[in-house]
C-alpha cells in the first residue's frame, strides 16, 4: 500500500464509522419502538419495527464487514453529524401507541430516505474514490430498501384507516 492508498483507507474507515453509527442507531431505535409498541398492545406496528430493527442491525454488521478486519475509528456520538438534528432518531417523537403499520412505514420511509440522502451527499462531496465506491454501493442497497418500503406502503394504504381517537382516559400509574 502506498501513502495515498493509506490515506484513502483512513477516509473510507471514517465514512464506514459514520455509516455504522447511523445504521446502529436506526436499528436500536426501531427495536426500542418495537418493544414499546408491544407493551402498548400494538402488535402490528411492533412486528413491523422488529423486522426493521433486524434490517438496521444487519446493515450495521455489513458495514463492519467491509473494513476487512480493520478497526473503525472511535467516533463520539456527537461527531457523527448524521446523528444530529436530521438523524434517524426523529421517528421516535412521531410515534404514537395507536399508530398503524401504514403510519409506521411512512415514518420509516422518511427516516431511511434521510439516511440515503446522507450517503448521496458523501458520494457527491467525497474526493476519495474508495469512499465514492462504497457510498454508491450503500446507496444502491438503500434504494432497494426504499423501494421495498414504498411497495409495503402501497399495500397498506389500501386497507389503511387512520387510528380512532382513544376514548379512554389516560392512567396515572404513580
Amino acid at each position: 500500500m502506498n501513502e495515498r492508498e493509506q490515506a484513502m483507507s483512513a477516509q473510507v474507515l471514517e465514512f464506514l464509522a459514520h455509516a455504522q453509527a447511523l445504521e446502529t442507531e436506526s436499528g436500536e431505535r426501531y427495536r426500542e419502538l418495537s418493544e414499546t409498541l408491544e407493551i402498548h398492545n400494538n402488535p402490528e406496528a411492533a412486528a413491523l419495527f422488529q423486522k426493521l430493527a433486524h434490517y438496521g442491525e444487519s446493515r450495521a454488521e455489513e458495514v463492519v464487514q467491509q473494513t476487512g478486519g480493520m478497526a473503525l475509528p472511535e467516533l463520539p456520538p456527537w461527531e457523527c453529524q448524521w446523528l444530529s438534528a436530521e438523524g434517524p432518531h426523529r421517528c421516535m417523537e412521531e410515534a404514537h401507541y395507536l399508530m398503524t403499520p401504514y403510519q409506521a412505514l411512512r415514518l420509516v420511509l422518511r427516516n431511511e430516505s434521510c439516511s440515503c440522502n446522507l450517503y448521496r451527499r458523501s458520494l457527491r462531496d467525497a474526493v476519495d474514490l474508495g469512499v465514492k465506491k462504497i457510498a454508491s454501493e450503500m446507496i444502491r442497497e438503500k434504494e432497494k430498501h426504499l423501494e421495498w418500503l414504498y411497495s409495503c406502503i402501497e399495500r397498506e394504504a389500501e386497507t389503511h384507516h387512520p387510528p380512532q381517537e382513544d376514548l379512554d382516559p389516560p392512567n396515572a400509574p404513580e
Binding site: L33, T36, I39, P77, L83, H89, E93, M99, A172
Partner: protein
C-alpha cells in the same frame, strides 16, 4: 468481572437493562435514556461504578432502564439521595435524573442546595413542562397561560420557573441545556457534565406528546445559544436572563473547589473513647 478492555468495548445498548420502559411511544424520555447510555459508553465507565438516582415521575423511572446501579426513591428527593451516596462513596460516578415536577416543584429546595454544595454530581432534569405521571398538571416550568389542566383551568397565571437562572443564582458550576430531539448533542452535554469536576446541571427539553402534543414543535424552536460558554457569572446571568428558554448548549462552566468530606488525622475509636475518662 469486566476488565478495562471489555469496558472499552461496551456499546450504548450494553448499558440498557432488560426492563422495557412504560413510557408512551414518542416520549422524549426515550432519547434521554439513549443519550445517557451513549455517554456512558463513550466514557467507557464500568457499569458497576455508576449509580443513577431518581425520584418519582415518568422520567424518574429511568434508573430501571439503565444497566448500572440505580435507585428510584420518592418524589422530589433524588438529589438528596445522590448527595448522600456521593459523599459516602466518592469513588462512584453518580448521576441523578428526573422530571420538572420532581426537581423544581417538590424537589426545589434540594436543587438549590445541591447547586451550592458543588459535589461532583451530574443532574439531568428531563423537562416536559408538565406532570406526566399524574396526568397532565402544570409544573413550575409550564407557561402561565397553559390552561389544559383541570386544576388550573385558566392557566397558572404564575411566572415560569427558570432552571438555568436558578442554577446560576444558586452557584452551580456547570449549566447546560439539551434537547431530547438531538440525542447525540445531548450525549455530548452529558459527557461534559460527567467530566466536569463539581455539580453539573443539564436541563433537557424532553417533550411529553401525550399531555403536551404541541411540544412536537420544539424541534423547530430550539437553537444553539449564541454566546460562548463563559465562566463569568455576570455574563452568564445576562445570557440566561435574556434567553428564550429554547437555546441549547453549555451556558456556564466555572472551576470551583469541589465539595469533599473533610478528613482529619485518623484516630482509632478506642483512642476517641479515652476522652470520656475522668
Amino acid at each position: 468481572m469486566s476488565t478495562a478492555q471489555d469496558r472499552k468495548n461496551l456499546k450504548p445498548k450494553d448499558y440498557k437493562s432488560e426492563i422495557k420502559p412504560i413510557w408512551c411511544p414518542g416520549c422524549g424520555h426515550f432519547s434521554v435514556l439513549s443519550a445517557i447510555t451513549k455517554a456512558l459508553a463513550h466514557l467507557g465507565l464500568a457499569k458497576e461504578q455508576v449509580a443513577l438516582i431518581s425520584g418519582i415521575g415518568c422520567s424518574s423511572r429511568i434508573p430501571a432502564y439503565v444497566d448500572t446501579y440505580g435507585f428510584h426513591g420518592v418524589h422530589g428527593r433524588a438529589l438528596a439521595v445522590a448527595s448522600g451516596l456521593k459523599a459516602a462513596r466518592p469513588d462512584l460516578t453518580v448521576l441523578t435524573a428526573g422530571g420538572d415536577g420532581d426537581g423544581f416543584s417538590i424537589g426545589g429546595n434540594h436543587f438549590l442546595h445541591a447547586c451550592r454544595r458543588n459535589m461532583d454530581l451530574t443532574y439531568i432534569a428531563m423537562d416536559n413542562e408538565v406532570y406526566g405521571m399524574t396526568k397532565g398538571q402544570a409544573s413550575p416550568t409550564t407557561a402561565p397561560d397553559w390552561s389544559h389542566s383541570k386544576l388550573t383551568p385558566h392557566g397558572t397565571g404564575i411566572r415560569r420557573f427558570q432552571p438555568a437562572a436558578i442554577a446560576l443564582a444558586s452557584g452551580a458550576s456547570f449549566i447546560a441545556r439539551g434537547f431530547s430531539g438531538d440525542p447525540s448533542g445531548l450525549a455530548r452535554l452529558v459527557v461534559e457534565a460527567i467530566q466536569h469536576p463539581g455539580f453539573s446541571f443539564v436541563h433537557v427539553l424532553s417533550p411529553c406528546p401525550t399531555f403536551r402534543p404541541e411540544q412536537r414543535a420544539w424541534k423547530q424552536q430550539v437553537h444553539p445559544c449564541d454566546l460562548e460558554t463563559t465562566d463569568n457569572p455576570i455574563d452568564a446571568a445576562h445570557a440566561i436572563q435574556s434567553d428564550d428558554g429554547r437555546s441549547l448548549g453549555i451556558f456556564y462552566i466555572e472551576s470551583l473547589p469541589v465539595w469533599r468530606s473533610e478528613k482529619a488525622a485518623q484516630r482509632s475509636l478506642s483512642r476517641i473513647e479515652q476522652e470520656f475518662l475522668v
